[in-house]
């Protein structure tokens, strides 16, 4: 935790942490405190007056069917993105771990989407699935599926799920591959000598030894789906049609900037902060456990 040999100086360490702490205080703690504070007030749209209302913003929030639906949408969205991104990337990583030839080329071809901004990924899939001329929508029509995410809420949700998962596969792939490569070859060989086939080996050796990586990725993917996909949704479906893709982070933005309901937006921020803190806590608890493992 700390060096045995250190430097002595009265003011230098403070000077060194000052920039970071200043930015943190002004742009992290102050706004977060304000969110907490204004979640207990109702403010008129022009900011002239405000009134202490206690927990009313929260009560209104959880009594609002739209908000509860948004909770459900977020959950469905997050779980679908996570399942799709984790499943696909695990399959790819297992395959990439097996090949000897062209392994490097495959890796290069599989990791670059990490660099694509979620907003751009969303816009491209929006184009591919455009009901009137998108190529994927055209193929789906050939299969008998009438695709129109402008009116069909479920299809709009599928669209953003696919785009969000598409972008996340590279990230998961890299971590799964690193996890697979750290599994001792001797274990797999020993199992093979005992006549365990590839499928059996995968379920009894690879998966259990991969479980720390899988759990880590599970949390990271959920955090990604819950908080980093605002751009994707805002640039494409804009929460619609009829709020079908309005996830929680999108709603905070919408209530605050479009609806100008500051109290409610602040209360939503506080709920989200509690959610992030909970998830970060789970993640770090698990990391602690892995250290003593």
């Amino acid at each position: 935790m700390q060096k045995r040999v250190i430097f002595r100086s009265r003011s230098l360490p403070y000077l060194l942490v000052l920039p970071q702490i200043a930015v943190t205080l002004v742009f992290f703690f102050w706004p977060s405190y304000q969110a907490l504070e204004s979640s207990f007030f109702i403010e008129d749209a022009f900011g002239f007056s405000r009134e202490w209302v206690g927990l009313r913003n929260y009560r209104d929030l959880f009594a609002d069917p739209g908000y509860l639906r948004s909770f459900r949408t977020t959950l469905v969205f997050g779980l679908s993105v996570t399942a799709l991104a984790l499943g696909t990337s695990l399959g790819l990583a297992v395959a990439a771990n097996r090949v000897l030839r062209a392994a490097q080329s495959y890796r290069t071809l599989l990791i670059w989407p990490y660099a694509v901004a979620p907003a751009l990924a969303g816009v491209i899939w929006y184009f591919l699935m455009n009901p009137s001329m998108g190529i994927v929508a055209y193929w789906l029509k050939g299969l008998g599926v009438e695709w129109n995410h402008y009116v069909n809420g479920n299809q709009a949700l599928i669209l953003v799920v696919v785009a969000a998962a598409w972008k996340q596969i590279s990230y998961n792939f890299l971590f799964f591959l690193a996890g697979l490569q750290s599994i001792p070859k001797s274990l797999i060989e020993a199992a093979a000598i005992d006549r365990a086939g590839p499928i059996r080996r995968f379920w009894t050796i690879t998966m259990p030894l991969l479980s720390p990586t899988t759990f880590f990725l599970l949390v990271v993917n959920l955090v990604y789906a819950f908080f980093d996909t605002f751009a994707l949704i805002h640039a494409t479906t804009n929460g619609g049609p009829a709020d079908a893709t309005s996830v929680l982070v999108f709603r905070v933005y919408n209530t605050g900037f479009i609806g100008q309901d500051y109290g409610s937006s602040a209360a939503q921020s506080v709920v989200l902060m509690a959610l992030v803190i909970g998830m970060t806590f789970i993640q770090f608890r698990y990391v602690e456990r892995k250290v003593t493992y």
């Binding site: 970071q20 304000q34 599989l110 670059w112 989407p113």
Partner: protein, 282 residues
Amino acid sequence: MVENRPILNILTHAVLILGVLFLCFPVWMALVASTHGAEALSRAPIPLWFGGQGWDNYTQLLSAGLPAAGGVPIGMMMMNSLIMALVITFGKIAISIISAYAIVYFRFPFRMGFFWMIFLTLMLPVEVRILPTFDVVTRLGMLNTYAGLTIPLIASATATFLFRQFFLTIPDELVEAARIDRAGPVRFFIDILLPMSRTNIAALFIILFIYGWNQYLWPLLVTTEEGLYTVVMGIQRMVNSGEALPVWHFVMGTAILGMIPPVVVVVAMQKLFVKGLVESEK
């Protein structure tokens, strides 16, 4: 590989090729679409191979932009993106490395307090405190400035942790040797610690550059002047430009232009990128 199973080998390559196709196909289509005119993209099925208008489309995008979306040249947006990404990247690295240095190599009151304060910022992403942060930036008069675009994003718990972790692995003998040679803390930092951190800085640079370049929500909030638009955020104006239908060949051209710099960085510096990604998340 443990044993030779031809069927499994074929299956392995089939899975990988399918994966590559799934990941590359959307960008392929975007690239193809950006070389056609509006006519070719007006009805299904759209062409799967390049058209002849690529040069015209890209020169118009880079120099003049789209009239319907404010007519900001994409070249200018990319310049803004580059400035924003570089300032965020260098700012994060600079303030993180010095604060990690203070926390590891000095003992002072509130040391752990500061450490936890930096740690807590991990839990407060911009997305969850949009409105109050916007409020603070407005009060400080930082709307529509490069400072407002970058400084609020410059604190970094991840980078601080990474440097702290790395400093802890550096043997104490180095500090002792430096002190015997009468080097002070500033000297030690500049002459010994900084050169030793080169690889870590490079790896972190890639991750943070992508982070900075891909920012969306923050530029959307703090810039209302078109001259400050960034490309990742600006594309949204072309997709949802009011009543008019999106001009897809231009939108796709913009998407391609907007992804080139970060993708090139990742592909060209793959080893460092993987190192940076795996280490900064631990």
